[in-house]
């Protein structure tokens, strides 16, 4: 026998699961092991990191504590397993190649804003990365947007065409360097380059011009958000709609110049995902054309080094890094560069072809965008962040479903479509694909579905879609299922809304939920949208609904709130008043005359439309939910109308409220307060009664109406006052963007 192992040595195997890959975790483990004088190795194994350490028992103990306490900021450890092993007299600590993992269980990291260390280098004139718009390290930079295939190695990214210079190659190989194995490492010598001098971009923006700038997940259209003429030009060239634009500002301190952020808004905006965060705007700080008629404004901080150096240039290229903590009076509209209704432009040539009529200056660079990712959008609801659109910075980080299940592919809804693919206990919810009316969006949805299954190397056992036969996503689900020889499961729209919340909160027991939504096809073939549901183990049951209103003209009624107001007048027995009330609508009399023959809906979204039009606020919408958002913007203090609703056998009826809103002389502001206040009171009473009967103290609140902060906050608070625990959508949108997750979750239990 050779040397017996030192009896004082111990060896331990540690497995960590959670967000532990693609964030510089292995170099961190390497450094920690070296500091504690331990031998062994660290290796990525599927979705886990496996570590074996050998050394003195005390050192291993300290190492274990450090793993948790000192983990990189982006790490999220959800499971930590330890087991002892026989010491083998190993010397030195190594990072082992990820062996035999393939794509089957690998993770794709999300795109993240520059980390503090990279920012320090970016604005350090002595650094070789000084003002380099494409710097990154293991903890930051582009990832999901540039990955072509797994495993996540440089050769499989858009940086494959950029061979490393000696300095970058050395950093890549040095375990003590922050860029050890940073697949996106690049510098001015060897990396991508912007095709236009910064000075030219700055000059264009200052002159009120529109600039198309290639960002992380696609092109943005940028212009000076304080310049009304620039805004007017952008609106005129992009199309006639009044959709609110997002605005990018230089840094956290600058948020306050343009908005009144709460601590939660500030934290969310400054997070490494750099989403657009909806927050109360500051009157007249921005040109009126940014978010016409709305009180909330979507602000975003620079999502990449490129945007950092752009703001630095806009600030007059100050020395040092202090400017990053000073408020800067610069705000840029940063809206997705897409011809109306079509997916975001990601390619330089495509940008020149399709954005030429919109942008005065088109700025690209030679790093390709592989995966189209819109900006993520986030709001604060009931005091915590709630994602309204999943995109850059969030995708494709999986959600933990808490338990194993079959592999299902869910295709979502027709509007705000997303795709969800499950693998074991993980759910990969795709980026926002958008509305599926255009051939380009149809292609994008297929591309996302194929991309997810292909990248992860999975073949779904089941394909899931909505019950609606004419959603584009339903057709695509049918085609994919037929090609795979797998069955299609059709899930009711609002059951999926509730199931998405159950999935996020990992609730397995029967759950009571209120789906407060636009319209989804109900089990009875009618248009649902204000439903109390019970979901359990893949099944759902309707416990109650709002009193139905006519839906004259189907989807037309969603675009033209005056039609819903006419439906409300009809319920009040005053249909004949519609023509006089809406003199600008030539069809009003004919519509009112046959309103009894129209289909009906229980949708809460359409009730918002009815209220907005009854108050004369908006008769025809330029974009989805415009009327509801404008109504919300008018709220000062929600105030319930006494006896403003009735509750009968599970049916909630706001007829008395509608009667009041229809009364001439009520100002829109009074109406908005009464509408929201009564809605909150009525919904809370309705839900609480059902919860008592159900014998539960928690209730899921889902559906697109929860994007209304007054409603979300007010209803959550009202339910809590009744001793109930409201559960809201957080990581996936409350609206149809979250539908694919709910579909997948329900299907897995089917």
């Amino acid at each position: 026998r050779g040397d017996a192992p030192n009896p004082l040595l111990v060896r331990e195997a540690i497995r960590l699961r959670g967000v532990v890959q693609g964030i510089g975790f292995r170099p961190f483990v390497f450094g920690l092991a070296e500091r504690h004088g331990l031998a062994g190795f660290v290796r990525n194994d599927g979705e886990c990191v496996t570590i074996e350490v050998e050394g003195a028992a005390g050192a291993i103990e300290a190492f274990g504590v450090g793993l948790i306490a000192e983990a990189p900021p982006l790490a999220r450890i959800v499971a930590f397993e330890r087991a002892s092993r026989a010491p083998c007299g190993e010397s030195g600590f190594v990072i082992r190649a990820s062996a035999g993992q393939g794509a089957a269980a690998a993770a794709i990291p999300a795109d993240l804003a520059p980390c503090p260390d990279c920012l320090a280098e970016l604005f350090d004139p002595r650094s070789r990365f000084h003002l380099y718009p494409f710097l990154s390290c293991t903890r930051c930079g582009p990832r999901a947007s540039i990955v072509r295939a797994l495993p996540y190695d440089r050769a499989n990214t858009a940086l494959a065409d950029f061979p490393l210079c000696p300095a970058c190659a050395a950093a890549y190989r040095d375990p003590r360097d922050r860029r050890f194995h940073a697949e996106t490492i690049a510098c001015p010598v060897c990396g991508p380059r912007l095709d236009t001098p910064l000075a030219e971009i700055v000059a264009a923006l200052r002159a009120g011009r529109i600039v198309a700038l290639k960002g992380v997940g696609g092109f943005h259209l940028l212009c000076d958000a304080t310049n009304p003429a620039a805004l007017a030009a952008l609106r005129a060239r992009k199309g006639r709609d009044a959709k609110p634009f997002a605005v990018m500002v230089a840094n956290e301190a600058s948020l306050d110049r343009f908005a009144r952020p709460e601590a939660g808004h500030r934290a969310a905006a400054a997070g490494p995902a750099r989403p657009i965060v909806l927050m109360p705007g500051r009157a007249r700080a921005l040109a009126a054309g940014v978010a016409p008629g709305l009180a909330q404004i979507g602000l975003m901080l620079p999502p990449s080094a490129l945007h950092e150096v752009l703001f630095h240039a806009l600030a007059g290229a100050p020395d040092g890094i202090d400017w990053r903590t000073q408020p800067l009076p610069v705000a840029l509209v940063a809206t997705s560069a897409n011809p109306s209704g079509e997916p975001l432009v990601i390619d330089d040539a495509e940008a020149r072809a399709r954005l030429g009529g919109i942008a005065d200056l088109i700025v690209g660079h030679d790093r390709a965008i592989v995966t189209r990712l819109d900006d993520s959008l986030l709001m604060l609801a009931d005091g915590a962040p709630a994602v309204l659109r999943r995109g850059r910075g969030l995708v494709p980080e999986p959600l933990d479903l808490g338990g194993d299940g079959p592999c299902v592919l869910a295709l979502g809804a027709h509007l705000k479509a997303t795709v969800t693919l499950t693998r074991g206990r993980e759910a990969f919810v795709s980026q926002h694909v958008g509305d599926l009316d255009s051939p380009a969006a149809d292609a994008f949805l297929r591309e996302v579905a194929a991309g997810l299954t292909g990248l992860l190397g999975l073949t779904p056992d089941l394909v899931v879609c909505d019950r609606h036969p004419d959603y584009r996503s339903t057709r695509i689900a049918e085609e994919i299922a037929a090609a795979l020889g797998r069955p299609v499961l059709r899930v009711q729209h609002h059951a999926a809304h509730i199931a998405a919340i159950a999935a996020e909160h990992r609730i397995d027991e029967p759950l009571l939920g209120a789906a407060l939504d636009g319209i989804g096809l109900g089990d009875d073939g009618t248009a649902w949208g204000g439903e109390l549901l019970r979901i359990e183990a893949g099944a759902w049951q309707r416990l109650g609904a709002l009193a139905p209103l006519a839906l004259p003209g189907g989807d037309r009624a969603a675009r033209e709130p005056w039609r819903m107001a006419t439906a409300a007048l009809a319920r009040l027995g005053r249909a004949d008043a519609a023509a006089a009330r809406f003199p600008t609508q030539p069809l009003a009399a004919a519509l009112a005359a046959r309103i009894d023959r129209a289909p009906v809906t229980t949708s809460l979204g359409r009730l918002f439309d009815a209220a907005a039009a009854l108050l004369g606020l908006r008769l025809v919408q330029d974009h989805e939910a415009q009327a509801a958002m404008e109504l919300e913007a008018l709220v000062t203090t929600p105030r319930p109308l006494p006896d403003g609703f009735t509750l009968t056998a599970g049916q909630l009826d706001f007829l008395p409220l509608l009667a009041t809103l229809a009364t001439p002389g009520l100002t829109p502001t009074e109406g908005a307060d009464l509408f929201h206040g009564t809605l909150i009171a009525g919904l809370a009473a309705w839900i609480a009664a059902a919860a008592t009967e159900f014998g539960t103290d928690r209730v899921a609140l889902g559906g697109g109406c929860l994007a209304n902060r007054v409603l979300a906050d007010g209803l959550a608070a009202a339910l809590r006052r009744q001793g109930l625990t409201p559960l809201l959508a957080r990581a996936v949108p409350c609206g149809d963007g979250g539908l694919s997750l709910g579909q997948a979750a329900l299907a897995r239990k089917f």
Binding site: E342, K416, H468
Partner: protein, 331 residues
């Protein structure tokens, strides 16, 4: 009319109503079948159709005219000359004889206009509630000359799509009648036999004509999707080029319907090789049934077989076919 009427009563019914309306030598033989001469040359074309419509009488037509033209047009879309028709009546007990008489005469007139003979038929009376007044099933035989090969699988990328006139007239005329919509009173169903138009088209375009189809149930949207699937191609339409009458637009706007999904009974879609498109269009426009004909799109390569349309606002939307009635999709 009485359910279960005996042989004699039925014979009298036929003699008094159908025989005079449909008179021709084959029917006059009084057999349970018609013995027909075999047309010389070409191939036989055979088709069948069931007419169900409410109301039975509508502006521009009635169920009888519809029953004849439905089958006649299906034959004509193959480039065939329709020759013989059979009719089968399912009549609800209590159906007014005067209405039946009117419908029989309408069938006669439509058949004469289309140049076909109703050579055989059948009549059944069912209990009250078992039929919505009257159903008529027709079958027809025509002959297509040798060398003329029109088929739904022949559209090729680059071909042009020509529409013979405005869309939605029939469906909207019916709806307006049913829904009592006063502002569409002058709108009539386009119900017509397309035989003479087809003859002019075949003469003008010859073998460059790939296929024809009448966009009946499901409208232009369903027909183009059918053809795209059959031919394994996509179609790219121009919204501005598709003729829609103002009354049709108004009713569609009111009811939230898409005119492209509404039935037509006297229109056809033709796919033609690009070099013959203008010639064919001119020939169609020279005929009263094709006076408003227009090139509405192009056949494109598309493995997804989508029918897409450039909209008036410059966007592009998918023209899908509906699974059933139009259901709201906006959440």
């Amino acid at each position: 009319m009485i359910h279960g009427a005996g042989g004699k009563a039925m014979a009298e019914l036929i003699a008094s109503i159908f025989a005079p309306a449909l008179a021709n030598p084959y029917l006059a033989q009084g057999n349970d079948q018609a013995a027909l001469p075999i047309p010389a040359g070409g191939r036989l074309v055979f088709s069948t159709d069931g007419a169900v419509v409410s109301p039975l009488f509508f502006p521009g037509g009635d169920i009888g005219k519809l029953a004849v033209n439905g089958t006649v047009n299906d034959l004509a879309m193959a480039g065939a000359t329709p020759l013989y028709l059979s009719t089968s009546f399912i009549i609800e007990e209590g159906f007014p004889l005067a209405d039946l008489d009117r419908i029989a005469r309408s069938i006669g007139a439509a058949a004469r206009a289309a140049g076909v003979a109703v050579v055989t038929g059948d009549t059944k009376v069912v209990e009250r509630g078992k039929a919505d007044g009257l159903f008529i099933a027709t079958a027809g035989i025509g002959v297509v000359p040798a060398g003329l090969e029109l088929s739904g699988d022949r559209a090729r990328p680059g071909d042009r799509v020509i529409l013979s006139g405005s869309v939605g007239d029939h469906g909207v005329a019916i709806l307006s009648q049913r829904e009592n919509l006063s502002f569409a009173t002058d709108l009539e169903s386009d119900c017509a036999a397309l035989v003479p138009l087809v003859a002019a088209m075949v003469a003008a375009a010859g073998p460059a004509l790939r296929l024809m189809r009448d966009p009946t149930r499901g409208g232009l949207a369903a027909t183009l999707n059918e053809l795209a699937r059959q031919s394994g191609v996509g179609m790219a339409l121009e919204e501005a080029a598709i003729p829609v009458k103002p009354a049709v637009s108004a009713v569609c706007e009111l009811l939230g319907l898409d005119p492209l999904t509404i039935a037509n009974e006297g229109k056809l879609v033709a796919v033609v090789a690009p070099e013959a498109a203008e010639t064919l269009l001119a020939a169609m426009r020279a005929h009263p049934l094709g006076a408003a004909a227009a090139i509405v799109g192009t056949v494109v390569e598309d493995p997804r077989r989508l029918v897409r349309m450039r909209t008036a606002f410059g966007g592009e939307r998918i023209v899908d076919w509906l699974a059933g009635e139009q259901l709201p999709r906006i959440c």
